[in-house]
């Protein structure tokens, strides 16, 4: 952690070597700030993990927490007690001096869409000190009844299969569903109905409005071979091209990944249940088994700070241990 970027010819705070070091830090607590397409990073000392990271950043207009992939009901070797690790995540949220404005849950709340799993998840999440939790479904949440149970519990007042938007302190949030009506051989799918809605939803927004999109499956091609991407994401993001600042928050892949493309920054969150392998490093994207005493360091939540006038969000990925 004492290491630093030595060669910085572009004076942009990052070089290839530094970038690789940043990636190595991911999962041990890294503060990423993304300004106008330039990635800057600051490693956070392990000892400060419980305090500094979870505070609202100085100067931030507001902050929120992204929580993802709780998989309540999963009980295999990779994590026999996913309820306990979700509770730890909630405890971490509650230990912050300044509570977040709200939580975003980016899907896979449950493992098998069972009522008992949803009950347990709701019970644990209810104890989070947050005025509201916004959800989008993961494919594990819509396994029965065409997703009706998910909509009844987590998607009231949403459109279609659970998509919606809302405004918060000048920023426009868009929750997309890309886990239903998936076609054989394909990836995640937004679908024509939702694309049409999205186009209408942003039609009257000023281009200076910061836009934050959240959905379960990554809206960029992380690794299509494992289904880690969305077939019609380009079309969806095409409607957002004119905006000066677009942030895309996803889950699904149980690891931190990010990409900056023009004015769009992409970020995926850790799971609170189990890690998954880096793209192509295992025979399949199934749950990755790690030593029990290492598990909490590869699970976590994301603390997202919004600062007015900045092009992008500052995201702190905070592991549970």
């Amino acid at each position: 952690m004492a290491d630093f970027i030595r060669d910085n010819n572009n004076k942009d705070g990052i070089d290839r070597r530094g970038f690789l070091q940043c990636m190595a830090w991911a999962g041990t607590g890294v503060l990423y700030t993304l300004h106008g397409g330039i990635l800057k990073s600051l490693p956070l000392a392990q000892g400060a993990a419980g305090g500094m990271q979870m505070e609202k950043m100085k100067g931030a207009d507001f902050s929120f927490i992204q929580i993802s992939d709780s998989h309540i009901g999963f009980n295999k070797e990779a994590n026999p007690d996913v309820t306990a690790t979700l509770q730890i995540a909630v405890d971490r949220i509650n230990s912050a001096a300044a509570p977040p404005d709200f939580l975003l849950h980016t899907g896979d709340i449950s493992q098998l869409s069972k009522p008992s799993e949803f009950d347990t998840a709701e019970q644990v999440l209810k104890s989070a000190k947050a005025s509201r939790i916004f959800y989008v479904p993961g494919e594990h949440d819509v396994l029965t009844d065409d997703g009706k149970q998910y909509l009844d519990r987590f998607g009231k007042d949403t459109k279609g299969k659970g998509w919606y938007s809302f405004d918060h302190k000048g920023a426009h949030f868009i929750g997309l569903v890309n886990v239903v009506d998936l076609k054989a051989g394909g990836l995640g799918s937004v679908g024509s109905d939702q694309l049409k809605w999205l186009q209408d939803d942003v039609r009257n927004l000023k281009s200076s409005t910061p836009v934050i999109v959240f959905a379960h499956i990554p809206l960029w091609a992380v690794y299509p071979e494992w289904g880690w991407g969305t077939d019609d994401s380009e079309q969806a993001l095409g409607y957002l091209k004119r905006f000066g600042s677009v942030s895309v928050l996803n889950g699904h892949i149980h690891q931190i990944m990010q990409k900056v493309e023009g004015n769009v920054t992409f970020h995926t969150a850790l799971s609170t249940a189990f890690p998954q392998p880096a793209p192509g490093t295992a025979p399949s994207p199934g749950p990755m088994k790690v030593p029990a005493d290492h598990l909490r360091s590869v699970l976590g939540i994301s603390h997202v700070n919004y600062i007015q006038g900045h092009h992008s969000l500052a995201i702190v990925d905070s592991p549970l241990a």
Binding site: F74, K76, E77, A78, Q111, L112, S113, E139, H140, L143, T144, V179, L182, K183, A184, G185, G186, L187, P224, E225, W226, G227, P283, S284, P285, G286, P287
Partner: protein
């Protein structure tokens, strides 16, 4: 030999009794010379169907078993002909193919998983 004849005799009696009570052809009861009911198995391992392509005679029942730590949903490409519930680890799903043809299928929640059954 005597014992075998006795068993056949008993089997015949069972078949007769079954036929009498239901009034239909006792297709499930076996009589000497019948072939055993045909079946084929497909295993789901590491997010793939194995074997990915199988050829079976009409009337074959295919049984899928999920060996992964994550659920899968076996679904015909048309989403109508057959669709399993979410199969948790070790769960099974069976479907009997009665008509010849080529049937493509996939996992409804991991659509990159595709496979094919040819019925002759």
């Amino acid at each position: 030999m005597k014992r075998i004849k006795w068993i056949f005799g008993l089997a015949a009696m069972v078949v007769t009794a079954f036929a009498c009570t239901t009034g239909t052809k006792p297709s499930l009861a076996m009589s000497p010379g019948d072939k055993p009911a045909s079946g084929a198995t497909v295993k789901i391992d590491n997010f793939s169907f194995g074997p990915a392509n199988i050829t079976i005679p009409a009337g074959t029942t295919v049984t899928w078993t999920n060996n992964d730590d994550v659920p899968h949903v076996v679904t015909s490409d048309d989403n109508k002909m057959f669709k399993s519930k979410a199969l948790d680890t070790e769960d099974r799903f069976s479907f009997t193919f009665t008509k010849p043809g080529t049937y493509n299928y996939y996992c409804a929640i991991h659509p990159k998983m595709t496979a094919k059954i040819v019925v002759q």
